[in-house]
Symmetry: C2
Subunit: 88 residues, 2 copies
C-alpha cells in the first residue's frame, strides 16, 4: 500500500513497478526537473526508465530487485518520494 | 528514402516517424549525450520523444507537420543527421 503522499504514483503489475507522469509549463522546466532527477539517480545508483518530450516526463520505477518480487519494495517507495520532493 | 549516413534510423508508419536507439558505456556518457541533444532540440525548437535508462536512449522523430503526411520530411532527416553528429 502506498503512503498518503504517493497518490500520484500508480502501482502496476507484470512486472511490478511504480509509474508517474509529470507535466511542466515549459521545456526549460522539464530540463530543470530532469537535471535534478539525474543527480538523484546518480547519487542513489538507481536508474529508472524515463521518457520525456517538451513538457512531460514519464517515470517507471521497476522494482530494485530485478523482478523476482510481486511487491513494491521500500526502496522504490523511498525513491518515489524523493523524486516527488524535487517538484515541491 | 534515407541517405547513406542514416542507416541506423528506422522509418516507421502510422504515424510516419524516424526511430533510432543509441547505447552507451556508462550513465555519464548517456547524460552527456542527452545534454548535447537538449541543446540541439532547444536551438531547433524541435522536441522529439526521448526515452532513456542508464545506458540507452531511444529517439522518436514524429514528422514536424503533426501527422498530416505519409513521408519523412526533409526537416526530420536534417534533425536526424544533426543528432548523429553528436555521436561522431
Amino acid at each position: 500500500m502506498l503512503g498518503p503522499l504517493m497518490h500520484q504514483w500508480k502501482e502496476r503489475t507484470r512486472p511490478v513497478r511504480l509509474e508517474r507522469r509529470f507535466e511542466f509549463e515549459s521545456y526549460e522546466a522539464t530540463r530543470n526537473f530532469l537535471d535534478e532527477l539525474g543527480k538523484l539517480c546518480e547519487s542513489l545508483k538507481r536508474y529508472p526508465d524515463i521518457s520525456f518530450g517538451k513538457t512531460y516526463v514519464n517515470l517507471t520505477l521497476a522494482s530494485g530487485n530485478e523482478g523476482e518480487t510481486d511487491e513494491i519494495s521500500n526502496d522504490d517507495k523511498k525513491l518515489a518520494s524523493k523524486i516527488d520532493q524535487i517538484c515541491q
